[in-house]
């Protein structure tokens, strides 16, 4: 891990050296957050009136709110007036070839098995000459259009599909839902939008990588996925390569709506810069992710592999409104060094015969802190509903912490809620057993950790799963012995 951090340091610092900031600032808002800035954002983006209203309402709400402090996290004070909330899309400095990239970073990519083309894209090598990404995207777009699927940036959707945005934006995560969601609603600049028409099974995994006109992930990203009746979509967010970002604070919102009989699978691999070995730097990731199973027999499944960020505050949740709807949450969260994660899920059962599953696997190493926080709420109406939660913690070493905070609120007697929790350690005996078979410590930890997380990893789309497996091993390199 130490190595990786150094590389990340070098790379990020390298960009400052190359004058990353100097050539772009023709279009940047002054620091600070006020109504004027929000109007500026909306105007720059040429938004319809309802968008401005949404933003201003959120801002009014946000001003009355306080940053939550109930999580098992120690968050350094954040000065929200010291952030610039609008900048024209930043251009990455382009370099000629991979030969100019730090060999150690390339080594990490190779360990992760990331293809050469992908490596070039991630490190900002000009790709046109070597890899015709435009044609891939065009083919991809053609496939989607044929099925009537809309997949575009949020800004584009606001311009081209205002009715859908107006109808669904904020319907799952209201503008003033929580402090970070309110902030996002007030100032977000872009994100992704996806609509799957009735009865359509999206034939490809939708990945933000293929979204047209993407300009990197924003600090306040917003995603809206609407799966119309009887449709199916599998959506992948993030990538396993180490993601560096000069923005320390990230507050994204993801909303999913599943209508009758629709199925949405949302997979995330999050590997943002976690800070250095001493806990300096790193991204704060405060995300609100929520899905609404609006129609009967609908299903939303969240799968996440979280290895990055200095602080993670994230609870992908499901509101099970439709009868017989299903919510799932599968999570592996790794914390190492000084990382802190407070993550889990909320399952709110409202419809009858609704079912939810929570499988959470926390892995802590170094002096990190890893908490699971979950709420299972079964309303009076939600007769014959079921939840099963399994929360496991794995500790590497004895300086890290694992905590479980399960909350259960059942308001009818025909429902069944089951909760299981375990805490285990990688024992010296297990490591010695592996070593004695010729498997070195790092490989052994990789094997054991991947075995431990298997139930979650198998939920990921195939190629994502293979990469995620390697990522888990790499994230824990040097954490024992």
């Amino acid at each position: 891990m130490g190595n990786e951090n150094n590389i990340l340091d070098q790379v990020t610092q390298g960009e400052y050296k190359y004058g990353f900031y100097t050539d772009i600032e023709t279009d940047i808002a002054p620091k600070g957050l006020n109504e004027g800035i929000i109007r500026l954002i909306s105007q720059k983006k040429n938004e319809p009136e309802f968008m401005l209203e949404f933003r201003l309402k959120a801002f009014e709400k946000w001003k009355t709110m306080k940053q939550p402090n109930w999580a098992h996290l120690s968050i350094p004070p954040i000065d929200y007036q010291d952030i610039s909330y609008y900048a024209a899309p930043k251009k990455k400095k382009e370099i000629g070839s991979l030969d100019e990239v730090d060999p150690e970073l390339l080594d990490t990519f190779n360990k992760l098995g990331i293809s050469l083309e992908e490596q070039k894209r991630l490190t900002g090598v000009a790709v046109d000459a070597v890899f015709d990404s435009v044609s891939v995207k065009t083919t991809f777009r053609g496939t989607l259009e044929k099925h009537g699927i809309i997949f575009c940036s949020f800004s584009e959707a606001v311009q081209n599909h205002p009715d859908l945005i107006k109808k669904y934006m904020g319907s799952v995560v209201p503008a003033g839902d929580n402090y970070f969601a309110a902030l996002n609603s007030a100032v977000f600049t872009d994100g992704s939008f996806c609509y799957i028409p009735p009865g359509v099974r999206c034939p490809v995994e939708l990945s933000t990588y293929f979204r047209i006109n993407t300009a990197g992930t924003g600090q306040f990203e917003r995603t809206l996925i609407v799966a119309d009746e009887g449709s199916y979509v599998s959506y992948m967010e993030g990538c396993t390569a180490p993601m560096r970002d000069e923005n320390q604070l990230h507050a994204a919102v993801v909303e999913i709506v599943a209508l009758k009989d629709a199925v949405v699978k949302y997979s995330t691999v999050q590997n943002w810069y976690p800070g250095d070995k001493n806990g300096k730097g790193g991204v704060y990731n405060f995300v609100t992710k929520r899905g609404m199973c609006k129609g009967s027999h609908s299903k939303i499944s969240w799968t996440q592999v979280e290895t990055g960020s200095a602080i993670t505050w994230k609870y992908p949740s499901c509101i099970l409104l439709g009868d017989y709807s299903v919510g799932e949450f599968y999570s592996v969260a790794v914390t190492n060094n000084h990382q802190q994660a407070d993550t889990g899920s909320k399952m709110t059962h409202i419809g009858k015969n609704t079912k939810s599953t929570i499988i959470s696997k926390g892995i802590s190493a170094g002096v990190s802190n890893n908490s699971y926080r979950g709420l299972v709420k079964i309303s009076r109406r939600a007769e014959n509903s079921r939840n099963f939660s399994q929360c496991d913690s794995l500790l590497l070493g004895d300086k890290c912490g694992a905590h479980t905070f399960p909350y259960i609120d059942t308001q009818n007697s025909s429902s069944i809620v089951e909760h299981e929790a375990t805490t285990s350690k990688i024992s010296d005996d297990q490591l010695f057993y592996c070593l004695q078979r010729g498997i070195d410590t790092e490989k052994a930890i990789g094997l054991i950790v991947n075995g431990y997380a298997k139930e979650v990893l198998k939920q990921l789309p195939m190629e994502f799963a293979v990469e995620a497996q390697k990522l888990l091993s790499i994230s824990l390199e040097g954490s024992v012995g």
């Binding site: 285990s424 024992s427 010296d428 005996d429 297990q430 010695f432 057993y433 592996c434 070593l435 004695q436 078979r437 010729g438 498997i439 070195d440 410590t441 490989k443 094997l447 054991i448 991947n450 075995g451 431990y452 997380a453 298997k454």
Partner: protein, 249 residues
């Protein structure tokens, strides 16, 4: 193969091995016997490089190399295999994945490419039959939910796959019924060759009815107090260890 000279080992300040000598040549089978708590497992763990043991005196050479210069996994890769007295469970890691990883590490060490999936499965199948282990076990996680006897067979199974030069079997016979014992012995005998050596640690004579050792040693109070041929095992079985106390001082 293996030469141990005047080995002294302490755990947490307490001396367990107190001047142990042992020489094992290629092709030989040695039995190390002795009552509980005399340091038999300690010897096996020191040879294989388990942490926590303080070597205060003495030396071990293996294939002419100073063993203490090699890391734990290097010793394994150099062909030393330990059949554990208490095999550990590794949840979530399938036997297949575990053994393929181990075998490929051995191959890499010898400059070979990873084994193909088909060849590996064929090898698993062949060795599985040798130790008569149920194929449902090889699909399970390492040792998880295995009975005591299954765990021991699984050790021999792993040995068969890795084909070590020096196998140390620590009480592989304890907890086995007579049929299982025969299976284990059969496995060991099939793998016996003029180049490989085996150290069998046991405190019963019965395994030695099926695996005929070239030498029998009695470990008592941290030292080898008596060595002899296979008939020594029988003598021990009849007389117990008490009569050797005198020789231990």
């Amino acid at each position: 193969m293996l030469k141990i000279k005047n080995l002294h080992v302490s755990i947490e300040g307490k001396e367990i091995l107190r001047g142990l000598n042992l020489e094992v040549n290629p092709g030989e089978v040695h039995a190390v016997m002795g009552p509980n708590g005399t340091g038999k497992s300690t010897l096996a763990l020191v040879i294989t490089g388990r942490e926590g043991y303080e070597i205060t005196e003495g030396e071990i050479t293996y294939k002419g190399k100073d063993l203490f210069e090699l890391s734990t996994e290097e010793r394994a890769l150099e062909g030393i295999f330990l059949g554990f007295q208490y095999p550990v469970e590794i949840p979530g890691v399938s036997m297949t994945n575990f053994m393929r990883t181990a075998l490929n590490e051995h191959r890499k060490y010898r400059g070979l490419d990873p084994i193909s999936a088909a060849d590996f499965l064929a090898r698993m199948e062949e060795k599985r039959k040798l130790v008569d282990i149920h194929d449902k076990l090889t699909n399970r996680s390492v040792n998880e939910g295995f009975s005591g006897g299954e765990k021991k067979r699984n050790e021999i199974f792993q040995m068969a796959i890795l084909e070590p030069s020096l196998a140390i079997l620590d009480e592989t016979d304890s907890g086995l019924d007579i049929d299982a014992l025969k299976v284990v012995a059969n496995g060991v005998n099939k793998l016996r060759s003029k180049d490989n050596s085996t150290i069998i640690i046991t405190h019963y004579q019965r395994l030695l009815e099926h695996i005929i050792p070239d030498f029998v040693h009695v470990l008592f109070d941290g030292r080898i107090v008596k060595s002899g041929g296979k008939e020594l095992a029988l003598e021990l079985e009849q007389k117990g260890y008490e009569w050797l106390k005198a020789e231990a001082v």
